[in-house]
């Protein structure tokens, strides 16, 4: 927190902050429309693909009896992974009183909400009988890791939404009271309702702090379990490649890598699009870069454990699986994910220059793509190598390649996630105004002042 300012200074600064941070809400130009059009169009095409899949059966995908989980499940794991960033940035770093992460926490929360919502949807899209989804609740058995997953995904979504919403309330009140005339009427109406009659007195703030703290603590076990349980979907089976004891921490470590990269990309997008370079500063990118290096190193350590130890032994089935990854048909994917998505980024980000906004964002794009590929090669190669030979089935049962319907639905999931993020950014400030003002030493009483 900076030193207290004079009322005049405070008011001026607050005006500027409010103006800058509501730019995303006010801004409506051709590009916005085009972006919406793009997202909705791709999402609609994906939904149409899902319609085809429901009509004709899951046979329209590239999956068959051996590789019975394909791109959808890989994508599901990816989204669960990305969503974990909410846990890391808006909770863990806060609780550790690391203040530089404050402006980023809403970005992380946006990503978390979009990703976890989509991960839930993808699972339904992967089901052979989505019409029977209710059976999960009617006949759910707690012995099945899927039920654990359903439980934690819903809990995590709920907590994430609350963790997004509760710090938003003072902002909503601020917008209600001080919002500029450029903000459309209906949005102002929404703010009024959602602000829940916030007055901004000390008691209310205490309530918000308290609620946030509770949520941040609550999200710790839930966040950890969401990805651990997802890893158990695999680790609970007897298959080589999945039958390992470190899958839980391995997945969690990988999740931080994917999520941090996503946050950097989104930060950069906001910085450029909404001219927020005073808010998402070089310093933030620098710290995010350092954070990314750190989580990458942890992930690298797990990768070494995950591959080195079995590769040393080369047990029969394990050996076939590993050889396929190292020198077989998945080698290009495996090595590009490891080298371009992990080793090279770690090396580059050690230099200050590569932690500047533009280079860091480019690196993050690579890291994010690699972490998607990584999920793909966790799911599919294992299934291509069952214990017993694959015989007496058509040739296309033996190898998996996604069909266009599958790709359409996968693209849908990305577009839908981006759509959620875009709508959130268009509706609400991308940085918590009151927290930011507080950081800048503006007294809370100015926040409650009506617009002159």
């Amino acid at each position: 927190m900076e030193k207290t300012k004079s009322p005049e200074e405070s008011r001026k600064l607050l005006d500027k902050i409010t103006f800058d941070l509501t730019r995303s809400i006010v801004k409506r130009d051709e590009l916005t429309h085009f972006w919406y059009f793009l997202l909705i169009m791709f999402a609609a095409v994906g939904l149409w693909g899902w319609g085809i899949q429901i009509r004709d059966g899951l046979g329209v995908t590239g999956m068959r009896d051996y590789v019975s989980w394909g791109m959808y499940i890989a994508n599901f794991v990816f989204f669960v992974a990305v969503s974990l960033i909410g846990f890391l940035i808006s909770s863990t770093l806060h609780l550790l009183k690391i203040s530089w992460s404050k402006p980023i926490s809403r970005v992380a929360e946006q990503i978390a909400i979009a990703a976890v919502a989509l991960s839930g949807l993808i699972i339904v899209m992967d089901m052979g009988r989505p019409d029977r989804f209710l059976n999960v609740f009617l006949h759910g058995r707690f012995a099945s890791p899927i039920i654990w997953d359903v439980t934690v995904v819903t809990t995590y979504l709920t907590i994430s939404v609350l963790l997004y919403y509760i710090p938003l309330i003072p902002d909503l009140a601020l917008l209600r009271d001080r919002g500029s005339d450029d903000i459309p009427k209906w949005k102002m109406q929404v703010y009024k309702i959602m602000a829940l009659g916030w007055k901004g007195n000390a008691e209310q703030y205490k309530l918000v702090y308290h609620a946030m703290r509770v949520l941040m603590i609550l999200i710790l076990p839930v966040g950890l379990s969401i990805h651990t349980v997802t890893s158990w979907l695999f680790a609970a089976t007897l298959r080589s490649g999945w039958d390992t004891t470190i899958f839980g921490p391995y997945f969690v470590a990988g999740a931080f890598v994917a999520g941090s990269a996503a946050v950097v990309i989104l930060m950069y997008a906001y910085r450029v699009r909404y001219r927020l370079s005073d808010y998402f500063e070089e310093l933030h990118f620098d710290y995010m870069g350092k954070l990314l290096v750190f989580v990458c190193l942890v992930y690298l350590y797990f990768n070494i454990n995950e591959f080195w130890v079995p590769a040393y032994k080369m047990k029969t089935a394990e050996g076939i699986h590993l050889r396929n990854l190292f020198i077989g048909s998945y080698a290009p994917m495996f090595w590009s994910a490891q080298i371009l998505g992990l080793l090279l980024p770690i090396f580059l980000m050690l230099f200050r220059y590569f932690r500047k906004p533009v280079p860091l964002t480019i690196i993050s794009v690579f890291v994010l793509i690699a972490s998607w590929i990584k999920r793909y090669i966790i799911v599919i190669p294992t299934l291509e190598h069952p214990f017993l030979p694959i015989q007496n089935v058509p040739e296309h049962f033996k190898h998996y390649s996604p069909t266009s319907t599958e790709i359409m639905i996968t693209i849908f999931s990305f577009m839908a996630a981006l759509l959620i993020i875009t709508v959130l950014a268009k509706m609400f400030p991308v940085i918590t105004i009151w927290e930011y003002a507080e950081e800048k030493g503006i007294d809370k009483k100015f926040l409650a002042e009506p617009k002159k």
């Binding site: 999956m63 009896d65 992967d126 029977r132 999960v136 017993l388 089935v393």
Partner: protein, 305 residues
């Protein structure tokens, strides 16, 4: 009750019909109710083993099908005091694949869907290759039922692992969990879906099959209820299969109809179960392929290409 009328019906036809959806539509049967005396009129029916038969309409009696809920209830309970086991004699298998054919007809399966699959095996580089029929192992510690989120696949008292096609949500977790690749999914509309339309679902035969759900070997639970051997066991021309009740300690050969002591059979022949190290405790025992009755013909495919 229903058993009796069906038995008569079966006798008249001279074909074996399982308890399951025996004809292409119960509506045909009910319409035949009124034509008991008329004759000369024939009608084509589909038996549960997949054969088309012509029957005089006067021969037809409406089968009293147990209702869906009744089917489900008895299907989940299983046959009391039984412990079904299968013994497969590898030295006798010559890859005739009659078991596969019979099974596919019985369970409404497409040609690429195998409840039982005859694999060409070779254990090490220079050992003798052999044929290994592989049904579901009906594990006593089944990984597949543990992971099912909705209890659509379950193990019943008599040791059979079944699937409830009416409940399965198609998540395919059980496929991922089964180390024997014994499970099959209905990726598309099942074979002959129209013919089976309107037939009451029989959980013990898993017929009619449903798009988007799992299917797998059931030890022909419907035939066991009728006191018959599983389809694969009866279809084998080479005496490969023995099937019976562990509680009675007796197994019967499907080809020779000879009955023998189960425990002695597996002891004398050093029977084994596959992938015993996984701890799944299969109920299918294999007799090693020694003193083979035939030469191995064919090529060993690359197991893990």
């Amino acid at each position: 009750m229903e058993n009796k009328s069906r038995r008569n019906f079966v006798k008249k036809l001279g074909v074996s019909i399982g308890a399951a959806g025996l004809v292409g539509g119960s509506s045909i049967l009910s319409s035949c109710n009124q034509v008991e005396t008329a004759s000369g009129d024939t009608i084509t029916l589909l038996t549960s083993s997949g054969n088309l038969v012509e029957v005089d309409k006067s021969q037809l009696k409406p089968a009293e099908m147990p209702s869906l809920s009744e089917n489900q209830k008895r299907g989940r309970a299983g046959l009391p005091n039984r412990k079904w086991v299968m013994v497969i004699d590898l030295s006798k298998c010559r890859n005739a694949r009659e078991c596969m054919k019979g099974c596919q007809n019985h369970h409404q399966l497409r040609p690429e869907q195998h409840h039982i699959n005859v694999l060409q095996m070779q254990d090490a580089e220079h050992t003798a290759p052999y044929y290994m029929p592989k049904p579901c192992q009906h594990c006593d510690n089944p990984p597949c039922t543990k992971v099912c989120p909705v209890n659509a696949t379950f193990k019943r008292e008599d040791g059979i692992v079944l699937i409830d096609n009416e409940r399965c949500i198609g998540c395919r977790f059980c496929i991922a969990a089964c180390p024997y690749s014994a499970r099959v999914f209905n990726w598309f509309e099942p074979r002959d879906a129209e013919k089976y339309e309107g037939v009451t679902y029989n959980i013990e035969a898993n017929v009619p099959q449903k798009k988007g759900t799992i299917t797998k070997c059931l030890f022909s639970a419907d035939r066991l209820r009728d006191g018959k051997l599983p389809t694969c066991v009866s279809s084998c021309p080479n005496g490969v299969y023995w099937f019976g009740d562990q509680n009675e300690d007796a197994v019967t050969n499907g080809t020779t109809h000879e009955t023998t002591v189960f425990s002695k059979l597996i002891k004398d022949n050093a029977a084994y179960t596959i992938m015993e190290e996984l701890g799944t405790k299969p109920r299918v025992y294999y007799l090693p392929p020694k003193d083979r009755a035939f030469p191995f013909q064919g090529e060993i495919e690359d197991n893990h290409s």
